[in-house]
């Protein structure tokens, strides 16, 4: 997890398209420039970055479902609940569930737990659009591969 680079997911641990679910894990770093401001002397992961973490897990789930033919962009957050503080070195278990894959959009709900305790959850809406160019698409596919996206869901499989 590199908060300042918006790399929120460390690894994808499972993808089950029949169930419409992706699981992932991350560990909050001990140090980050983000903690210098949020907050001095009381480092906490900003809630917006927890939303972003759930959005990225959902995004990889949506791209697995469409075989990386289109990229989801977050356009809506509903019923977001940030239930507890998240401190450095916290291990996060992230689960994203695909509620609906529409034409040009998708809806998910996602949650994050740590030690079995729910930290946050929300419903997310994404607009899905073609990748702006092949280079960008290859970068996103490569990122998915690095995180452990099963090859079945990557292009060319």
């Amino acid at each position: 997890m590199h908060l300042e680079y918006f790399q929120m997911v460390d690894r994808i641990t499972s993808v089950d398209l029949a169930a419409g679910q992706l699981s992932a894990q991350s560990t909050v770093p001990e140090k980050s420039p983000v903690f210098e401001g949020h907050f001095p002397g009381m480092p906490l992961v900003p809630g917006v970055l927890l939303i972003e973490t759930m959005a990225q897990a959902s995004g990889f789930l949506i791209m697995a479902a469409n075989r990386f033919t289109a990229m989801p962009f977050l356009v809506g957050v509903k019923q977001g609940k940030l239930r507890t503080f998240v401190e450095p070195q916290t291990a996060l278990d992230i689960v994203a569930d695909l509620d609906h894959e529409g034409s040009g959009y998708a809806v998910s709900h996602a949650s994050i737990k740590s030690d079995g305790k729910k930290i946050c959850d929300c419903q997310l809406t994404f607009k899905t659009m073609p990748f702006p160019d092949d280079k960008f698409a290859a970068m996103i596919v490569g990122r998915g591969r690095e995180l452990g996206m099963p090859g079945d869901f990557l292009p060319g499989s």
């Binding site: 809506g76 609906h100 529409g102 034409s103 809406t125």
Partner: protein, 91 residues
């Protein structure tokens, strides 16, 4: 409840447009002023309600390339006809 009533209720609940302002002749964009984000929520609610997948990408492409007008898809009575056709095709 008719398709029109269901869709009008969805629009009213999603976009806070007074239900009585929505008629069969209303253009969802030009008359009701529904923006693209609210429209996504409305399409999601319609997809769920009717068990269909409104082909928004295909409709948008047809409008953009001039083979259809926005009225064909986004005037309420026409939208409801399309929804009925999609639901019938799925049944």
């Amino acid at each position: 409840m008719s398709t029109f009533d269901k869709v009008a209720d969805i629009i009213s609940e999603t976009s806070e447009i007074p239900r009585e302002e929505i008629t069969t002749e209303s253009h969802t964009i030009d008359d009701l002023g529904i923006d693209s984000l609210d429209f996504l929520d409305i399409v999601f609610a319609i997809d769920k309600e009717f068990g269909i997948k409104i082909p928004m990408e295909a409709w948008t492409e047809e409008v953009n390339n001039g083979t259809a007008s926005t009225e064909d898809y986004f005037v309420m009575k026409n939208l409801c006809t399309r929804i009925d056709e999609l639901a019938a095709a799925k049944a």
